[in-house]
Amino acid sequence: MDTATRLLADAPAQLLPARELMAFTLASHIMLVPFGVALPFITLVMHHRGLRRNDPTALLLARRWSAVMAVQFAVGVVTGTVLSFEFGLLWPGMMGRWGDVFGLGFGVEAWAFFLEAILIAIYLYGWRRLKPWTHFWLAVPLPLAALLGAFGIIAANSWMNTPRGFTLDAAGNPVDVDVRKAVFTPIFGPEYWHFTVAMFLTAGYVVAGVYAVGWLRGRRDRYHRLGFTVPFTVAAVLTPVQFFLGDNIARQIFHKQPVKFAAAELVWDTDTHVPEYLFGRLQEDGSVKGGLKIPQLDSILAGFKPDTQVTGLTSVAADDRPTALQATIVHWAFDIMATVGSVLILLALWYAWCWWRRRDLPRSKWFFRCAALAGAASVLCVECGWITTEVGRQPWIVYQNMRVSEAVTPTGAASLWTMFGIVVAVYVLVFGAFLTVLLKMRTRWRAAGDGTAAAEHPETDTPYGPRHELAATAAPPPSADPGADRPRGGAE
């Protein structure tokens, strides 16, 4: 029997649905994270520009982005809360034994998230009535709160990857918890910086991508130019930084989680002069099918010289390491991330070159085509990075201390599959509705911009909860209020 089948046969039946559910909900949530972490910052940059230069276009962009933020943040809040439920619903074994060792990070995150929710509420609802600069300054701590939240989550995740800060008693329970060591684990630093930069970069490319599409469709006005330039510049500046950070974390993994590194690079036996495989599939016997083999390169990348010894998967027992299939998944995720990262560097260089030579955006349509794709590509990279971290750690939920199968809930597989079905259906609906709402907002704004606002949907003022009609009849409408005469957000 091959390893994968044997491992599956040993595992409790509910393990697979539990892992699928966790993977699905996390993969969904993580797509919103870049915007939760970095969109406030990018919006504030635009907002500042608008206030500073008295630029109505910049202020309009900032207001529209915060309208998007309102919806995105709400969906992120609920999908994020689901994840905290899943720690209990799916992995009670992990939380029961290790919760007090690594839970502090979540504590920090929860408070940071609280602060973020407060600040974002003030920012989103402050446009109309607050004084322009007061409004801006009240939002300035927002990116810091987001960074603090990321600190908490990454502290918890990096602890699961390189756990420490405790000793085990005779019964195998953690005692003598050293909180400082448990928060700042060896992989924490590299993971934190790699992650946060990824968030800013992704949000930048996605937002810029929206305006790149508009640019390609011939909407070459100042509005689109500004909407493209500010987020794209943020992302382009960070791209080379991220390249360096990605290289750094790979080498840290080589030192601190050698088996994960072996999975990412498809290294079977511990050896020197190890070749690098670009893609390719690992077989059960340790050979690699397909892919491009570059002799010596893996050793060189890991330790800067060909005789660097790289630990292989076979250095640990078969049930202590990822299966061949898991290793292949990790490897592909890793390679896709590295490839996309390299292409994005070229894109950033193209942009920098044109800016340096002509103080202007590149003229080529191909640049904007690539820029339009860069957003989706970075989201793909975020997913790949997360797959590399999490699948590469298998079969451990707490690296080398607790198996995923030990942590899983005793609830039956049938219940979990049912829940999985429900959650997939709900998420498809929620994310579908989310995208529809965003597209509708865009259409509405575009219509308003073209002076065709009158052509808005006839149901705009239908009775089901619309504000305008009702406000006109009973409640004082905003415009009747003395405070509303103040210029909104500064310039107009």
């Binding site: 619903l89 839970g103 502090l104």
Partner: protein, 339 residues
């Protein structure tokens, strides 16, 4: 010592969620009962308007409850989430539908789509607190012991169901009282009477369910019942009832704003009574606070983080609620995002 302090913090955070989240769930409850598109237009307008700036903040309390549970009392967390798998899973799904429904209804224009989002929001606003209530009932009744696996018996029993209904009634009271005050604040004079009536109805329903609950728990959850009918527990129950009565009176009078404090006090005191009644247990008669407590170093750090966070968050939350009650917070209107 640290464990005790942290268990009180946990109770406090649960009370905060019961009040903050409860107001939101209650608003959703009245949204559900507001009738068809024509009849429910005005109450729904008010609900939308009153809830929007603060609902995310109110829901963060729930995340705190979870984090405090798994970090401070890992075994308690494991026990509850294993034994009460189904109600908690359903509550989680309910929360997604609720939050997404509310957030997506706002920027949607088509009536049909608004109805779907509104229904998702309103129905799950009823179900989610019910399931949370059953969880508390199950814990209080002592059916959840460490090592219990998920079973219907753990939560489909008199105490759990009554606790679920009690939670729904409490959210209805909170929602109606806050909306009465909001109606005056936003100048929707006719809605003041509308929600005042509903506040009274909800308070009456709450009293009935609470009375039934006290009778039912006599046998079904004897430890907590004893705690609620003796000593500090009894005192808190009486204070809670008094706060409820004061709220009913305040809603009628000119000091409407104070009714909100009354409703919050009633709910918070009820939660406190439950906590006091099951001292020193987290799960009556099988798991004490001391037994479930995590590593003391972590508990101390949790408290330190909480204190630091309060220093940071206190001013922010004050600013938010002050701006909100002064009517400074307003959503972006169409003309703000049009060129």
């Amino acid at each position: 010592m640290t464990a005790d302090v942290l268990s009180w913090v946990l109770l406090l955070v649960i009370a905060a969620y019961a009040c903050g989240g409860g107001v939101d769930y209650g608003a959703g409850f009245w949204d559900l009962l507001a009738g068809g598109a024509g009849r429910g237009r005005r109450p729904r307008w008010l609900i939308d308007h009153a809830m929007a700036p603060v609902w995310e903040v109110n829901n963060v309390w729930l995340v705190f409850v979870l984090v405090l549970m798994w970090t401070g009392f890992p075994e308690f967390f494991q026990t509850v989430f294993t034994a009460l798998w189904l109600p908690l899973a359903l509550a989680a799904v309910g929360m997604v539908l609720r939050g997404a429904g509310f957030a997506l209804r706002k920027p949607t224009r088509r009536l049909a789509a608004r109805r779907v989002y509104g229904a998702a929001f309103a129905v799950s606003s009823l179900l989610t607190p019910f399931f949370f209530g059953t969880v508390i009932g199950s814990v209080a009744s002592g059916r959840v012991k460490p090592g219990t696996t998920a079973s219907a018996d753990a939560w489909a029993n008199p105490t759990s169901v009554i606790a679920g209904l009690l939670a729904v009634c409490a959210t209805a009271v909170l929602g109606a009282v806050f909306l009465t005050a909001d109606a005056r604040r936003f100048g929707a004079v006719d809605l003041v009477g509308y929600f005042r009536l509903r506040a009274w109805a909800a308070i009456a329903a709450l009293l009935v369910v609470a009375a039934v609950g006290l009778a039912v728990t006599g046998d079904d959850a004897s430890y907590v019942h004893h705690g609620l009918t003796h000593g500090w527990g009894l005192l808190l129950v009486l204070l809670s009832a008094a706060a409820g009565a004061v709220t009913a009176a305040l809603v009628a009078g000119p000091a409407l704003g104070w009714a909100r404090y009354g409703a919050v006090a009633a709910v918070a005191l009820a939660v406190a009574a439950w906590g006091v009644a099951q001292r020193p247990y987290l799960v009556p008669t099988s798991l004490t606070v001391q037994d479930a407590a995590g590593a003391s170093a972590t508990l101390q750090w949790m408290l330190i983080v909480a204190v630091v966070a309060l220093v940071l968050i206190g001013p922010a939350v004050t600013v938010l609620y002050r701006l909100d009650t002064r009517g400074v917070l307003e959503p972006l209107a169409d003309e703000d995002v049009a060129r």
